[in-house]
């Protein structure tokens, strides 16, 4: 068996008639950290959403292979059960649905087994401690009235509880203050340590990457992956910006 967790092969996708992604290719192996960078509107979030199976986007070509299985036609819940996770850039609010009950329900649907309430509470407390979250958050309705930082922490809490094979983090650090980024990063490190999972981090900045060992960096512009390199590519882009990076390539 190969070590490939995710293979994106010649993937094209868009909304209605408009194609956003053109022939995208990359492969993520077990335990690897990939970073997806690019200017605003380049299609980075679309890549995350299409891998997760957002029905808003239609795949017009290519395949998404996850742990050797072609999941291109799978619904989002089936992909989640297979082990894909997406931390949303803007997590949705669901009134009347408590965060803890939601996570427990998701765990039960994922595993098909009943979760024992005491084990669950213990696990949840442990994960909340990593994220410096007060236990009372569990009783609050999913993302309702949460600040931007609280929403992102709640996303990472779900990541720690669901333990997927692949986590896609869509702008998890955007809009967060320094302290919040530090806490969220701690959660991500904990995930890597506990599960030896794989990461696809969609980001503008490098703060979230400080304590992570980046294996590959992909640069996405106008729906194309125009360059793939190692971790040093992140620094290079951050020093010069996209303008000079693109200029240099010409």
């Amino acid at each position: 068996m190969s070590n490939n967790v995710l293979e994106v092969k010649n993937l094209s996708a868009g909304i209605e008639e408009r194609e956003i992604l053109h022939d995208v290719n990359f492969t993520i192996k077990k335990g690897e950290v990939h970073v997806l960078m690019g200017p605003n509107g380049a299609g980075k979030s679309t890549i995350g959403n299409v891998i997760m199976g957002n029905p808003r986007y239609q795949v017009t070509g290519g395949n998404i292979i996850f742990n050797g299985e072609d999941v291109t036609e799978y619904s989002a819940d089936k992909r989640a059960k297979a082990g894909i996770f997406l931390s949303f850039q803007e997590p949705l609010e669901v009134p009347g649905l408590p965060l803890d009950g939601f996570i427990k329900n998701a765990l039960e649907q994922k595993t098909g087994e009943r979760v024992r309430i005491w084990d669950f509470k213990k696990e949840l407390k442990k994960a909340m401690d990593v994220l410096s979250m007060n236990e009372s958050y569990g009783k609050r309705n999913l993302n309702v009235g949460f600040s931007g930082g609280e929403k992102k922490k709640a996303e990472i809490l779900q990541l720690l509880m669901l333990k997927p094979d692949l986590a896609i983090l869509d702008e998890t650090d955007s809009g967060l203050d320094v302290d919040a980024v530090r806490i969220v990063s701690k959660g991500i490190e904990e995930y890597m340590r506990e599960t030896n999972g794989s990461l696809l981090i969609i980001t503008h900045s490098t703060r979230i990457l400080d304590n992570l060992n980046v294996d590959y960096t992909h640069v996405c512009v106008n729906g194309h992956i125009i360059e793939t390199g190692d971790g040093s590519l992140v620094e290079k882009i951050n020093e010069g910006g996209y303008e000079s990076f693109l200029e240099e390539r010409k």
Binding site: N54, P55, R56, S75, D77, A80, K81, F88, V94, F102
Partner: protein, 468 residues
């Protein structure tokens, strides 16, 4: 994936079992003085009640069918048997209830609920109560919980005569008049001064017979400083002929007393539910309505509260779920008739698969009701493009010295929220059920745990089969 969700029909089998009508006494269909006399004879009414029934029939014949709400032209009283009974008599022990009736209530979980979480239970099967029992400790407090028929002949006969259809007179509307003429069964509850019953009483109404009507009367009297939580449950198997429910609920809430009246209604989808509920509240008293309307083909249901005493209060929390073939017109009414009174109406309605749900409210603040507060909030959720949701709030404010608020919101289930929940491994059907349950959370959190679970199950049932 982007296809619209569509549900053919829901699996209602857990409520849908029916029993053969054998051995039942069934009055001829239709409504005549002769039929009303026959019912009165069957029940061995006191003379005043016999006259009351006949007068109500006259009123019924005089009044017009309402035309301001959902269409009920297909309901023909000539096809409805207004009285059906097995003549088994009312029992105080489940053991003594005839097997097939007992089996019905077993399937609905009523005896189980009585053992675990209720202070007393009444069960009506078609036109008559078949069971009434109240825990000994509750009886010792002086609480009376029985059927109206027994109460009419016993120690409380005068109290019944004084209160029966005084809050909802037969002249109120055509179906109140019908109720006055053919009412049968229901519950009488009396809570003496100062008695606070912490555990609820429950009456369950089951209409088994096809083409029949159920006209139970619920009369509750709370004396000063008392407390009661009363729960009402209803269901019926589905038939392809019309059934009619025209019950009447009258609640008298004494000074500083508090009554919580909870209903989970799950009539089958061939039912015309034309029910009238009303409360009158004395000084410092409170009435709280919690109402879940899930079943029936057509409903007209607007529990009304008359805030008669200074500082009296009402709260109404309701949820209505209209699916395919359902037209549910529900809401609440309140009259502020004294100073410092307050009312709070909070409803949620859900419509799906072509269902129509209308919220209708009426708030009246009389001239003398100074320093009163009224707040009306209604939210609707439409699950597809073929369903309908309307909001018709009316306000009649006759004093400048009142604080009145109104808020209405109509929304759709968000595809993004569904995708968000699905991205955590939850199926589309469950994701939608979770969002709808969350939307109706204001009602379920007001209910005792067992009923909240039943309500969530009903929502899941309504949502099942939603395949994207």
């Amino acid at each position: 994936m982007s296809e619209k969700t569509y549900v053919e029909d829901i699996d209602r089998s857990m409520y849908d079992f029916r029993n053969e009508d054998k051995d039942a006494y069934r009055i001829s269909a239709g409504l005549t003085a002769d039929i009303v006399e026959q019912i009165s004879n069957e029940k061995d009414d006191p003379e005043w009640m016999r006259e009351f029934r006949l007068k109500s029939l006259e009123v019924y014949n005089r009044l017009q069918v309402p035309e301001w709400g959902p269409d009920i032209s297909e309901l023909n009283i000539d096809n409805i048997a207004t009285y059906v009974t097995k003549k088994s008599g009312m029992k105080e022990s489940w053991e003594d209830v005839p097997d097939e009736i007992k089996d019905t209530f077993d399937k609905l979980g009523i005896p189980q609920a009585e053992r675990t979480s209720l202070a007393g239970v009444g069960a009506q099967y078609d036109s008559e109560m078949v069971y009434h029992n109240v825990q000994k400790e509750v009886e010792e407090l002086g609480v009376v919980y029985t059927d109206i028929e027994s109460a009419l002949k016993g120690e409380y006969a005068d109290m019944i005569k004084e209160h029966f259809m005084h809050l909802v007179p037969p002249t109120d509307h055509k179906f109140a008049a019908l109720h006055g003429a053919v009412w049968s069964g229901g519950s009488f509850v009396y809570v003496p001064k100062g008695v606070k019953l912490e555990i609820p009483l429950q009456s369950y109404f089951r209409l088994n017979a096809a083409g029949a009507g159920q006209f139970e009367h619920t009369l509750i009297i709370l004396e000063e400083d008392s407390y009661l939580h009363f729960i009402e449950g209803c269901s019926a198997p589905k038939y392809n002929v019309a059934n009619l429910h025209a019950g009447c609920v009258e609640l008298y809430v004494g000074k500083n007393a508090k009554l919580r009246y909870s209903t989970i209604e799950n009539w089958s989808k061939n039912m015309y539910n034309l029910n009238t509920k009303r409360a009158i509240v004395e000084e410092g008293g409170t009435v709280e309505w919690v109402s879940g309307s899930f079943g029936s083909h057509v409903s007209y249901l607007y529990p009304m509260s008359i805030l008669k005493g200074k500082g009296s209060k009402m709260e109404f929390t309701g949820v209505t779920f209209a699916g395919k073939g359902q037209n549910l017109d529900t809401g609440a009414k309140v009259v502020h008739a004294a100073p410092d009174t307050s009312s709070y109406i909070n409803t949620k309605s859900i419509s799906k698969s072509g269902g129509c749900s209308t919220f209708r409210s009426s708030v009246v603040i009389n001239k003398n009701a100074k320093h009163s507060k009224a707040s009306v909030s209604c939210e609707s959720l439409m699950l597809d493009d073929i369903s309908r949701s309307d909001t018709i709030p009316a306000m009649d404010i006759r004093t400048a010295d009142a604080d009145v608020g109104h808020e209405a919101k109509i929304g759709r289930i968000s595809d993004d929220a569904v995708f968000y929940l699905m991205s955590r491994g939850i199926s589309e059907e469950n994701a939608k059920a979770m969002i709808v349950s969350g939307f109706a959370d204001n009602v379920s959190k007001e209910l005792p745990l067992e009923y909240a679970m039943e309500m969530n199950n009903l929502i899941k049932l309504e949502m099942s089969g939603s395949i994207g």
